[in-house]
């Protein structure tokens, strides 16, 4: 499985899909987050592998 982490929320998705599709599954908007794997930024077409842990970082700030 693949873990997606956003702030204090965690989701699990199946490996084999793209980062973008995985973000869509969480209900977050792909344009509003960046995906980080092993401390490295990954593009949204990246295919997720079993055991991946993806940290989602919010792009938008207010103020």
């Amino acid at each position: 499985m693949v873990k997606l982490i956003y702030r204090k929320k965690v989701w699990e998705v199946k490996p084999g899909m793209t980062v973008r599709d995985a973000i869509l599954k969480t209900g977050l908007k792909p344009y509003a987050v960046l995906a980080v794997r092993d401390g490295k930024l990954v593009n949204e077409q990246t295919i997720l592998r079993d055991g991946d842990e993806i940290k989602l970082v919010a792009v938008v700030s207010g103020g």
Binding site: K29, Y31, A32, L34, V36, K40, L41, V42, N43, E44, Q45, T46, V57, A58, V59, V60, S61, G62, G63
Partner: protein
């Protein structure tokens, strides 16, 4: 997805520029783009001393990092507002201090609002019976302090980390209400209209917020991730989301909205007479004010027990 420049795996795909880049080339591309913006709007030169307003957030720290890399004389100014009984401010200041400690020969100063004037920003806002919102009091205080520090330190301008998304969200709100006064003044460079008012520049106006966030990440800049508690739920975030939905359907829409606005104004689109009101010098601090006597900043503290 491959980097357009070298064919390695891309870390970011910028549909608005039809450009995917690897980490290395993205780290090159951002400063180049900022340099082009500085040049295009004639913001400043390497001979100028620049005061960078840093909050500990991704945009202001990213801006400072880029300006230092480009070889500009960029000093930091952190204004300690005293948000959330000081906790939020302490945390954000921590990120600025860390940024400074990782670089050599970087100058920066802290102005602590409470230590200097007696009350923190939320405390001043609370004492005002008229119920001025914290964010408007905060804006007023920050502007005053930035102008004062820039004047006293002989800085050519104040640089802020506003990105394209910030600007476009404001533009959208101003257009929806036809706030012609604001539309007349929204620009990448605000010239100094008084010796005590610093020139203001926004070198990140051509960068998408997605790009500034990615830059901080890739460059390893740690920044305060949580929103200022007073900004949570701000209308700006709503407009940013609206514009991002538009951008999804039509990549480049945000940039072209902004650039075509600037272009139209350059070609003569006018929002009425920009005739400036007469400015008087504040009798207390010397900064300009539209009414004779005390300026809005000095009035804020009038009658308060400043300890």
């Amino acid at each position: 997805m491959k980097c357009r420049k070298c064919g390695r795996t891309a870390v970011i795909n910028m549909r608005q520029h039809k450009l995917a880049l690897c980490q290395e080339h993205f780290l090159e591309w951002i400063p180049e783009r900022v340099q082009r913006t500085i040049h295009k709007y004639r913001m400043f030169t390497p001979q100028d001393k620049i005061l960078v307003a840093v909050s500990g957030g991704k945009d202001s720290l990213g801006l400072w990092d880029v300006l230092l890399q480009l070889g500009y004389q960029a000093d930091g100014l952190y204004i300690k507002l005293g948000i959330a009984e000081g906790a939020y401010s302490d945390e954000s200041l921590g990120y600025v201090e860390r940024f400074v400690s990782e670089r050599e020969g970087v100058h920066f100063q802290v102005v602590d609002v409470k230590a200097t004037y007696g009350l923190s920003v939320p405390e001043v806002a609370r004492t005002k019976r008229r119920g001025r919102k914290v964010c408007s009091v905060c804006g007023l205080i920050k502007r005053h302090i930035m102008n004062r520090v820039a004047y006293e330190g002989g800085y050519a301008c104040i640089a802020t980390g506003h990105n394209l998304d910030d600007e476009v969200a404001v533009l959208m709100q101003n257009v929806l209400r036809w706030q012609v006064g604001y539309l007349a003044r929204q620009a990448p460079v605000l010239p100094a209209t008084h010796p005590r008012l610093a020139r203001k520049v926004k070198p990140l106006v051509h960068l998408y917020e997605r790009e500034t966030a990615a830059y901080a990440l890739v460059r390893g800049i740690d920044y305060i991730y949580d929103e200022c508690p007073y900004a949570v739920g701000a209308t700006t975030i709503f407009y940013k989301d609206l514009l991002n939905q538009l951008e999804e359907h039509s990549p480049g829409a945000k940039l072209s909205f902004y650039l075509s606005f600037l272009q139209a104004r350059k070609e003569g689109l006018s929002f009425g007479d920009e005739g400036r009101p007469d400015l008087h010098d504040c009798v207390q601090c010397g900064q300009p004010t539209t009414a004779p006597g005390l300026c809005a900043f000095c009035r804020l503290w009038e009658g308060l027990d400043q300890g």
